[in-house]
């Protein structure tokens, strides 16, 4: 049986497989029996109105809240019972809708910790030298997210847009295989949005992701496939062009804005 499981995992090219995932808060069913899979390297947008269960779905995948029901597989391995940090160490990453950063620490230390978190010797009592591989990796990340000029500044001194960029940098640290982006464009100016799209498009092709995004222009520029959620369920799945013109989707998600 175990051998069969393993063979299945090798054969599977899915980065992420959700089967029958639900999450209940008291009487509220925030995520209701969601089943879908995302192949390795695929880039998927999740659309849906507020309260459709998108962020809760992310929280069940990362283990912030374990699912009430259902199973979650990551590259074939069942991660449903694993604590969040174990999922991260397997290559899963996420960003948050509201930036979750270490405000008292400089940008570079934020990125450095993100690199160390998935490495060895996380409790080292030694100070890392500037030439430490993780320090160097943090510098490179600061460059990749266009923050090298403010790398030594504490996070509390950054602008909102810069904090959103750092939020993405935290998810890129340490060889991610799959990333969950939770509304990365929220509160950004048009110029900052273009910068964000550039950063997302510049990601190595083997890194797949799911992006929750209210800005359709951003979502459809970076996503290959789209899943629409409504009231905790998967409502529709398809290519960006089909979803954009689907009358039912327009009715529930766009609220007739485009109609």
């Amino acid at each position: 049986m175990q051998r069969a499981e393993r063979l299945k995992s090798v054969a599977s090219s899915n980065a992420l497989e959700l089967s029958g995932v639900s999450r209940v808060f008291g009487a509220l069913v925030a995520v209701d029996n969601v089943t879908f899979s995302v192949t390795a390297g695929e880039r998927r947008a999740i659309l849906g109105s507020n309260g459709a269960g998108k962020t809760t779905l992310f929280n069940t995948i990362t283990g912030d809240f374990p699912p009430s029901n259902g199973r979650i597989r990551f590259f074939g391995e069942d991660i449903t019972e694993l604590p969040p940090y174990e999922r991260i160490r397997r290559g899963l990453r996420r960003t948050y809708q509201n930036s979750q950063l270490f405000r008292g620490l400089p940008v570079l230390d934020n990125l450095y910790l993100a690199v160390r978190g998935v490495g060895r010797r996380r409790m080292s009592l030694l100070r890392p030298g500037e030439d430490h591989p993780a320090r160097v990796a943090a510098q490179q990340l600061a460059h990749a997210i266009h923050l090298e000029d403010v790398a030594d500044r504490p996070v509390s001194e950054l602008s909102h847009g810069q904090q959103r960029q750092l939020e993405i940098g935290m998810a890129l640290a340490g060889a991610p295989r799959f990333i969950l982006f939770d509304e990365p464009a929220a509160g950004l100016s048009p110029a900052e949005r273009r910068e964000l799209v550039d950063i997302l498009k510049a990601l190595p092709t083997h890194i797949g992701f799911i992006i929750i995004e209210h800005d359709l222009a951003v979502a459809l520029q970076v996503a290959e496939t789209v899943t629409v959620m409504h009231q905790g369920r998967v409502f529709k799945h398809g290519l960006p062009a089909d979803i954009e013109t689907d009358p039912e989707v327009q009715r529930i998600y766009l609220g007739g804005r485009h109609g």
Partner: protein, 342 residues
């Protein structure tokens, strides 16, 4: 281009600040070394040495509270465990209980047991946050003190142990004022330098990050709980070092030394000095011990708690991050004021 950037970095403000810091520490170090030469025995031991080891116990709280965001009232308890264990394993006035081990065996075992005790406390307390952490650590502190008072087989009940003294090294009596002061200074300096160093280590940075945002820490692969417990272990070792000196200073250890009141005094010292920098607890301990010794001259000795309470209120209302925070704000040159760490 790269070379030009590196060249300017050599003379960067950070480097100038580093040199300034070395000069400041050098001066402070010299002053502390020279202090006994111009002070009486009372000032050397009662004020000087006591400030140094009580400051170290308060430092263990500053490490946990300031960097880890966990306020523990059990720090003096960890110190007390070390003090009791050095009495139990070493030499005391109760040879029927004490095992009479040599100091080089008794001291490491005492430090180890105190650290283990702190680790177990951390395993319980790190599951809680905020006010609940304070309550659970206070409960542990009170329970341990009461247990020591009622247990005669190991802890010798109400009387505790007397006749505790530091080892004699090379014929030097470490209980004499001058050697005891320098012993306290050496332990305090090692603890202080250790904390300052570890603060910028991977573990120390991670602890501050756990304080700022535990959720994100989990989302970048850290086991937040393990980090918190490890922080308790380190704080236990620091407190235990202070506890040994406390036992040798008093020559005894009894339940009253580690009762709830003195445990809270440790918090008062750390907050008075400020939880923003490792020097804070020492400043706080100095102010506290000066008030404790001279309140008698200002007001009735029974009213010491009133004096310390009023002083505490004035300082905390004027500066929530204590005397060190006040000092930092007064001497900060940058007009924008920088950012508060908390």
């Amino acid at each position: 281009m790269t070379i030009a950037i590196q060249d300017t970095a050599v003379r960067s403000p950070a480097n100038v600040a580093l040199h300034g810091r070395i000069a400041k520490y050098g001066l402070l170090g010299l002053a502390l070394l020279a202090y006994p030469l111009m002070a009486s025995d009372f000032w050397i031991v009662q004020i000087g040495a006591q400030t140094l080891f009580m400051g170290t116990i308060a430092l263990s709280l500053m490490w946990l509270g300031g960097y880890g965001g966990m306020v523990s009232l059990a720090q003096l308890t960890f110190a007390g465990v070390a003090a009791y264990m050095v009495a139990v394993f070493g030499v005391s006035n109760r040879p029927d209980i004490s095992l009479g081990w040599e100091w080089w065996a008794a001291i490491p075992v005492a430090l180890l047991i105190a650290t283990a005790f702190a680790t177990i406390t951390g395993m319980l307390a790190a599951r809680t946050e905020g006010i609940y952490t304070i309550m659970i650590t206070l409960a542990i502190a009170v329970a341990f003190s009461l247990f020591c008072r009622q247990n005669y087989a190991i802890f010798n009940g109400f009387a505790g142990f007397a006749g505790l003294k530091p080892p004699s090294l090379f014929g030097l009596d470490l209980r004499a004022p001058l050697p005891f002061y320098y012993l306290s200074l050496a332990f305090a300096a090692a603890s202080y330098v250790g904390v300052v160093y570890v603060t910028r280590s991977t573990f120390g940075l991670a602890l501050q990050a756990v304080r700022d945002n535990p959720r994100r820490m989990r989302a970048i692969g850290f086991n937040v709980y393990a980090h918190r417990v490890a922080a308790y272990a380190m704080s236990g070792l620091l407190a235990a070092v202070g506890g040994l000196l406390l036992a040798w200073f008093n020559g005894r250890i009894s339940p009253g030394t580690i009762a709830a009141g003195p445990c809270i005094n440790t918090l008062v010292m750390a907050v008075l000095g400020g939880m923003v920098h490792p020097i804070g607890p020492y400043v706080g301990a100095l102010v506290f011990i000066l008030l404790q010794n001279f309140a008698i001259d200002l007001i009735d000795p029974e009213r010491f708690n009133l004096v310390i309470g009023v002083a505490f209120l004035i300082i905390v209302l004027a500066s929530p991050d204590g005397l060190v925070g006040l000092w930092q704000r007064m001497t900060r040159r940058r007009p924008e004021g920088g950012s508060s760490q908390r």
